[in-house]
Point group: C2
Chain length 178, copies 2
Amino acid sequence: MPRRNGTGPFWWRGRFKGCGYRLTIPRKAIVDVLDKANKHLSAEDIYLSAHKVYPAIGLTTIYRTLELLVQMGVVFKFASGDGRARYQLSAGPKAVKYHHQLVCTTCGRVIDYADFIDKEKELFSQTEKGLSEKYNFKILNRLVRFYGLCDECSQQRTVTSHKLQVTSHQSPERSKDC
Amino acid sequence: MPRRNGTGPFWWRGRFKGCGYRLTIPRKAIVDVLDKANKHLSAEDIYLSAHKVYPAIGLTTIYRTLELLVQMGVVFKFASGDGRARYQLSAGPKAVKYHHQLVCTTCGRVIDYADFIDKEKELFSQTEKGLSEKYNFKILNRLVRFYGLCDECSQQRTVTSHKLQVTSHQSPERSKDC
DNA sequence: TTGATAATGAAAACCATTATCAATATACAC
DNA sequence: GTGTATATTGATAATGGTTTTCATTATCAA
Ligand SMILES: [Mn+2]
Ligand SMILES: [Mn+2]
Ligand SMILES: [Zn+2]
Ligand SMILES: [Zn+2]
């Protein structure tokens, strides 16, 4: 007989009750989607998945419940480049407390990596410790984005730059930096 | 007689011309605002400032020019938590190529810090070098956000939790985590 | 089971950003 | 300088993710 608290499969039920919030079918469906997906999803992603198990659910409830979960500290919300926010569980057994990405500013490609290199863990461990003390700030999550040119895009700038040439005498061909 | 290229006060003029873009009054005004402010601004911030020196300017031109500058690699654009994008020069003598912030998930306060603790610069340098090689990715800018509780908000949760108590028998007082 | 009230969802509102398009400014040829 | 091709502008409308509104429904302690 499994325990239904702490880190068990229904750890989040206690969170709702403990906060004085009612445990409803839409809310169960939403947390369930986040728990099973175990990666960052947009509100619409969550809506589409939850809709399958509970077709009556509305997009409004998705947004409302997500905000609630963020306030409770159960979900981490962060902005992505495409104008839609992303949400992921940041509490419970499957919690992910960091997001590290390489973002190509030319094609928009996002490389979401978790296989940190040697120096990286040390870097953030030390940095977070220093910042916590210096600013008396309790760090719970982090988002790290390196912006630049992906493999393909940086090659294209040198290899296919001639494609950008224009015949008009009024438009001098754009250099490879434009 | 000062040079008007490279890192001089009008370094960005050559960028426009070199890319085949015309040098217009609205464009000058926009770059000038970014150059003088030397911190990240929203499109509206830029509009309001540029409007003072060139009242005929339209918000549309602000967005269009910013996108152009981003494509040219002169401006770095990143998402802030409030739904408005921020822009800052990332080329020229005043370029800023990184943004490090502490974001309070309770009150929304943002601490924008640049006074890096010891070792931080070196570790980022090494980390970026490692990532560049591993993913063959040319890193140009970075955004680092630590999310959590600011000084005030983490104190309030313990000190004033009694304020959250509700008299209704149906609403058990929210614990300090809600 | 009942009743107070928390939660829901359809619809409308909101708001930053984009697309349209007719008018204008720029820069090159002459 | 003048003329001409076209890049640029800005008012306006449209877009799309997110919030607000509000009448209806579901939850849960008693
Ligand atoms: Mn991620
Ligand atoms: Mn900054
Ligand atoms: Zn790319
Ligand atoms: Zn705070």
